[in-house]
Symmetry: C2
Subunit: 205 residues, 2 copies
């Protein structure tokens, strides 16, 4: 009995070590260096051992994607402590772009079509929920009635992703991208506020 639990513990442990090794390779050397053999070497095993813990490479990468979203989520939670509703939004935007700049390779696999669309949406959900929550309190604070919260959130999410990609694809520098995200957010929010007259009629977005 006790031996079987120990074995399970060891299994879970090496599984975790594989994920950590993969994450380290990805972050330090990029997606091209992320090979099964390389990971196996780093954890001092032969390549097939990896397949005892993950069905295939995509399943392992999915774990990295999930880790990335947890990381992003924690940074969002940190940024969400800002009391001012408006500054809170801009800080979220800035933080998202900063994340993309600080973890470019991770950011890449987090938005790579090779990982299944449903799985990707699933692991990204908590992050989007935070955005949705912040957007709700923001609209309440400004008496803005958004006709469709999901839609507004998707616009924000898409916009942030696009501008973050701008830097990650090398079109603009990281600092500028952060500034762009803040300005884009400001413009969008201002647009929504303007669409809602003082009497609080639902905006048509």
């Amino acid at each position: 009995m006790s031996t079987s639990t120990r074995r399970a513990r060891e299994r879970a442990n090496t599984r975790e070590r594989i994920i950590e090794a993969a994450l380290h390779v990805l972050e330090t050397e990029g997606v091209a260096a992320l090979t099964i053999r390389r990971i196996a070497t780093d954890v001092e095993y032969s390549a097939p051992v990896v397949y005892q813990h993950f069905a295939n490479k995509d399943a392992l990468v999915l774990e990295l994607v999930a880790h990335g979203h947890r990381l992003l989520l924690s940074e969002f939670h940190h940024a969400a402590q800002e009391p001012d509703t408006d500054r809170r939004m801009t800080r979220i935007a800035s933080q998202y772009v900063r994340f993309a700049g600080e973890h470019p390779h991770l950011f890449r696999v987090m938005n790579d079509p090779v990982v299944d669309a449903d799985e990707r949406r699933r692991v990204a959900e908590p992050v989007i929920d935070v955005l949705k929550e912040l957007l709700t309190t923001w609209s309440a604070a400004h008496n803005v009635v958004l006709a469709d919260l999901d839609q507004a959130c998707e616009i924000l999410w898409g916009t942030l992703y696009g501008i973050a990609s701008l830097s990650y694809l090398g079109n603009v520098g990281g600092d500028r991208a952060r500034y762009l995200a803040e300005q884009a957010l400001r413009a969008i929010l201002l647009g929504w506020r303007t669409e809602t007259p003082a009497n609080g009629r639902p905006a048509s977005n």
Copy 2:
């Protein structure tokens, strides 16, 4: 003499056939099917022949990316014929997202980090120039003085790319993405207009 020009013509011709075959494979079967051997087979040559026309696979893919941008540019030119300045902007936004939906695999390689960042920026330039031009006439028509045109353009470009990616990554449907892009554009432009008071003082974006 005349034979050498004929040879050059034949060379250019097979080069073009390779590009067309590659484009066809990419659009119909996706990036995974785009292999050198497959392309060579389709043009009825052996694989090494491809390397007489392109230094490596990336150089060939870059040609597809350039083609994609030319295609996008022509659709932009078509959409830019809309006389109304505001509708022209929304049509551009809509058209961009539509392009991503109709050419998903092409859209993917057009924004793939495997192709060199400088080259990618270079082939995308004409498209961005159209966007910049449209943005200029729009701001003039509305007496909006944008402090930094490049920045405004980058925000637009990033936003459109982000929302197009939303559908291309499977987060939202194609029709909804097009609508989202229009709404995002509307909000941003409205935000910029609001930032510029009636007297035409430069907006702080």
